[in-house]
Symmetry: C2
Subunit: 432 residues, 2 copies
Amino acid sequence: MMDFATRIHNHNYRLDPIIRSLLDTDFYKFLMHQFIWMLYPRVPVTFGLINRTKEVRLAAIIPEEALRAQLDHCRSLRFRENELIWLAGNRFYGRRDIFRPEYIDYLRSFRLPDYQLETIDGQYVLTFAGAWTEVTMWEIYALAIISELRTRAAMASLDKFELDILYAQTKTKIWGKIKRLHEWPQLRLAEFGTRRRHSFLWQEWVTDVMASELGPAFVGTSNAHLAFKHSYEAIGTNSHELPMVAACLADSDEALKSAQYDVLAKWQEVYDGELLIILPDTFGMTQFLRDAPDWTSRWTGMRLDSKEPVAAGEEVIAWYKARGQDPLRKRCMFSDGLEVDSMIELHKKFRGRIRESFGWGTMATNDFRGCHPRGLNTLDPISLVCKVTHANGRAAVKLSDNPAKTTGSPPEIARYTRIFGQDGFRHADVVV
Amino acid sequence: MMDFATRIHNHNYRLDPIIRSLLDTDFYKFLMHQFIWMLYPRVPVTFGLINRTKEVRLAAIIPEEALRAQLDHCRSLRFRENELIWLAGNRFYGRRDIFRPEYIDYLRSFRLPDYQLETIDGQYVLTFAGAWTEVTMWEIYALAIISELRTRAAMASLDKFELDILYAQTKTKIWGKIKRLHEWPQLRLAEFGTRRRHSFLWQEWVTDVMASELGPAFVGTSNAHLAFKHSYEAIGTNSHELPMVAACLADSDEALKSAQYDVLAKWQEVYDGELLIILPDTFGMTQFLRDAPDWTSRWTGMRLDSKEPVAAGEEVIAWYKARGQDPLRKRCMFSDGLEVDSMIELHKKFRGRIRESFGWGTMATNDFRGCHPRGLNTLDPISLVCKVTHANGRAAVKLSDNPAKTTGSPPEIARYTRIFGQDGFRHADVVV
């Protein structure tokens, strides 16, 4: 039976939106958003897109008109009532009422602020400036839009069979990975790949297969829309932007040094329980742990995102022991460019020593390497981030334990380096 | 847009027919059918299904009711006028008017005769008895029905994602094979996999991908329906049933020995040009060539279907030279359980020495080995044939160069072996 409407729509439509729901973002954005909305509503910030894979000239690949159409469409979106009811009524990490009714009311009228787009040297310079409460939400939408527009551009030249083979080969590849993970039923992992996904539909397919095949080892997804739609656990707490902006609010070197702890002290006033996850590497993990107030050791655990993971895990375990804490009661989530081999290696290394778990990102939702039917690399993932670049009139800095992930202006990076030092820093290539 | 009719039909239907067109058979059946209809219309024959993979107990896998429903549906089919116009009007092997108008008229009222079905020791005993002109057409339909019913039974327990992964892995596997063939653009091959295909839709997909990717190296398909539907060349000439029945018509040992040549003499009265392909192995290739009348060396070429192919090819080249024929003007088609490696090996061995080509069958249209998402072998191909078992009141015999492919009653096999000898026979395991 010919479904005329679908056939015509598939070949003649106004726009194929990439972001179709404001829930289609990382869950941690909502926790941070409420936190910002409560405590820092009027801090002026700028976020900017950074393509660390410079040889991929995004402006030569993605038509500017298409990018603007997707960003504009995203700005037209509003939270739907069923989505707000889910945020308000769902349990997250076993707790009800994480989101205040006033915050939900605020979301009801939320819309994304405007963006600035220009092209320099073949790269899009995409920036978002305004109040932190508004600008922060652009991060994941912008990344997912750029990522999927690049996917679409690469696929536009493939014919029917090539598309079929592309997905057959990629499904075969991810299935091989999931089958390997299946051999380690105690290896707990979440899907963390929204920001650099191949496409929404592919992320959804991968996440559904993980849920179906891995059973309880699949603990959930960072994507709030997928969690809502499929009743998965929403996973995630906070990110580097909190200490980065907090540091920009500091008026002295001493205040700058303690900002990384002060923002966490405020976080624990707002949240508790499983939401108390430290991301220690914004200005270097070693200095963070060495100088951390003792109350931080009573938090739920940590997420390790840049230091070589075996060394980072050992450092965390030693630190908990030194602070009189039992590592076996602490969560240790790895989330830096993970792949099946590294997850299994870390699982074997740390199981029974700390409550290790994994946030599997780009290599889950965008590993098309070797799958292009003509052998091209146009669908390989790239290292794309959207970071706060300025806050409170100052350039924002992230040092990271891997200098390849450092962001900020050179003079500010120099100042931060003087204050925080570089203990334990080590360069490593960044793939995604 | 919900297409209600399709959704409901997909989950609530009377029958999903496997054979939907009487053209959905090997093209050689039509050439043989016309030949039989002209010269042997009333020879009584019996065809029977033979499952050489005895450990697969088909009657325990395929419900008898489903098998009867498909066979009955097949009997209800008639040639459609557009199909008859194609048979009458198309060029085959560059020639028009291969099929006589009277034969086309005969096809217009053709219907398949009845079948006999019983179950013995877990295997279906499926036989077709009657006039050769009617019974012969059952061969491919019956094989394709059994093959696809087995496929359906194996897939019925797979869930949505497992089905998705099954086809993703199999597409990846066949794509790897086609990519390897792509490296040998002079390697000419046809798709020959109707009889043991996974399913009609899979055969069609594989054939379409081969046509799309291999370009002129893909010379066509044995399947008349696919040739008609997609405007591919229809490939094939004749099979073992001609000398097998001819042998049953012989009334003396001398007549039996010469029947293999006499039937070809009649064939060349009916057909000429590229249709003069010898299948020399029915009673052993070495005796066939040794004792063959000289006019057989002037035919277009040979199809090699059971002897170890390198030895067979060398034997054919030497024979043509001994008969004063230039092998480079002779076709040599290999068709016995071919796989990519063996085709490339034979291509490298024989290119520039004879006009070698390949009929790629089951390993093109039903190689699901290693692709089952739970690692089962229920979708692996089996060795299923439908052969003439009796003709003219006698047991029919095929000796073959590989005794594993011998069919017939033991006393008759003994008689044939006495008459034809066993020169060059060598046992090899039969996979498909």
